[in-house]
Symmetry: C2
Subunit: 323 residues, 2 copies
């Protein structure tokens, strides 16, 4: 019987769930709405029903042995299994998520962490970090998340919330970050950060000839910048260059903390390949102590963009079962 | 019979060694010159002779059971037991230190790491971090070192050199750091960094009335700045304020990586107490994500300034014996 685990990714709008085998293949998946009503009990009932339906759907094709459920959620706390004051979710305060979900699935292994940590776990269990004991994952998207692995284990820290490298300070007193502080990496290297950089460059150079000059602040996204860069647009090319320089500075800070074997980059902006990787690596190397230079690999994640969140969450279960 | 371990701290000029009991008391200690001649074999023979003499001296008073030798050394590699390309030592290339010393002390447990990691180990085994599983130590002196503890173990990283938080970037393109890069924390928060800040403030304000205005760039040290601050000197007080603000920014970066229970500060500048702790904590809190605010203790090290290096190195052995 095929052993599988279930991955659940709780986002602000949608909750994705999938059944994943030991090689990281998604056998089947589904979506439900993450509620805006804030009723956690009702949501967990809906989620449980969706999970059970998905299991039945796969089982009608082939026999499977479901070992557990892994959850990736904003502010998901590994130690307590709770979601705590998540700014993008409607639940109030601290939701004892694992305890509540566990009542619906007795006997299964349940585990929870935040989405970036789950992605790092996915990379370790199914992806490019297989066999690595010390590595770091940065996820570039609406925000910048990170998952840190030291001695083969995710770093959760004292309170379960470690690994928020997107909120290290790149530029003292710099851009306002979504968290309320200034100058954080996320305000520069996320997809919205790239948009802000594009406008910064257009302002600086009065770049009325840029392909990006006809797009409003609210319309522009990182994909448009990528498309303009591919057409040789000077502003768009400089956005990638500057984003890479900022990201490289941040990665160097992380190397100085943890000296990882590799850093994996995941998310939309990484699809630009050398456009982003080259300046990132150059800048990281410039900022490093000699003892770390030319030692740390910066690699694209091997997780598939669409399923990474599910796959990462499902990996939590395999890791728990190892213990 | 009293169980003891030996701690050796290899500095650029002096090598300190001491015999330490399980409570962290130094029973006896000695000093030899760290050689300028670069002959590692000869130095290890001298060091071994000094260790043996020290053991005999203590044993003539009370029976002791020597369990091992811990070494703190610049660029000391825990994994390989080697000292690698240490900029402040005369040895060339990679010295297989533990292997060479082990020939003189068969049967003993030997371990090596850098001095800041050793200090963190000392804090964990004998000091304020006893019982803590996740904490960080910053050592402020000629440079800024750090030791990171995650899940009860020192973080050595992929290559054995993790924990160089003094070389994270505080100010992009800022002050030249001793390592050759710009804007690193060490260039702002070390004792020489404080001196640079004092002159920066005098330059900015043309502060001819400062108590520090009569001291040359090469003469001034952080103790003079502290003494001026105690007399209410405005420049000196601002040095502590600014140093704390920079350090707090750096500590926040470390919290965002590791979410430690506490951060311990060690070294000369920490003797200034609130003068440095208050702005450090305020700045750290300002830079933190809400989820980390008011959670992380910033504490003075409980290791005694004079013996911390010996005591920290000796702690390595106790930790090895636990494994």
């Amino acid at each position: 019987m095929k052993k599988v685990t279930i991955g659940v990714d709780i986002g602000g709008t949608n909750t994705k769930l999938g059944i994943v085998d030991q090689e990281g293949n998604v056998l089947d998946k589904d979506n439900i709405l993450t509620p805006a009503h804030g009723d956690a009990q009702k949501y967990i009932e809906e989620l449980s029903a969706a999970i059970k339906k998905l299991i039945e759907a796969v089982q009608s094709n082939e026999p499977i042995d479901v070992l557990g459920i892994g959850i990736g959620a904003p502010n998901g706390n590994y130690y307590s299994g709770t979601i705590e004051y998540a700014p993008n979710l409607s639940f109030k305060g601290v939701v004892p998520f694992i305890e509540m979900l566990g009542r619906q699935f007795t006997g299964l292994t349940l585990a929870m962490t935040n989405d970036a940590n789950a992605a790092a776990m996915g990379e370790m269990v199914y992806g490019g970090a297989q066999g690595m004991k010390n590595f770091v994952m940065f996820t570039l998207g609406t925000g910048v998340g990170s998952g840190l692995v030291v001695n083969g284990d995710l770093v959760y820290g004292h309170d379960g919330f470690a690994g928020e490298c997107g909120h290290t300070t790149l530029v003292p007193g710099g851009r306002l970050c979504g968290c309320g502080a200034r100058g954080h990496l996320e305000a520069y290297c996320s997809a919205p950060g790239m948009k802000r950089t594009a406008f910064e460059i257009m302002v600086r150079d009065n770049a009325t000839d840029s392909l990006l000059a006809g797009i409003s602040f609210n319309e522009m996204d990182s994909k448009m910048i990528y498309e303009a860069a591919q057409k040789g647009d000077r502003v768009a090319l400089e956005v990638f260059e500057q984003t890479g320089r900022w990201l490289g500075q941040g990665l160097a800070d992380t190397v100085h903390h943890l000296s990882p074997e590799a850093i994996f980059l995941f998310g939309g902006p990484t699809a630009a390949g050398d456009l982003i990787f080259k300046p990132t690596i150059e800048s990281m190397e410039e900022h490093l102590l000699p003892v770390f230079k030319k030692k740390v690999k910066v690699l694209p994640s091997e997780l598939s963009m669409g399923d990474a969140a599910i796959v990462g969450a499902s990996a939590l279960v395999w890791k728990e079962l190892e213990k």
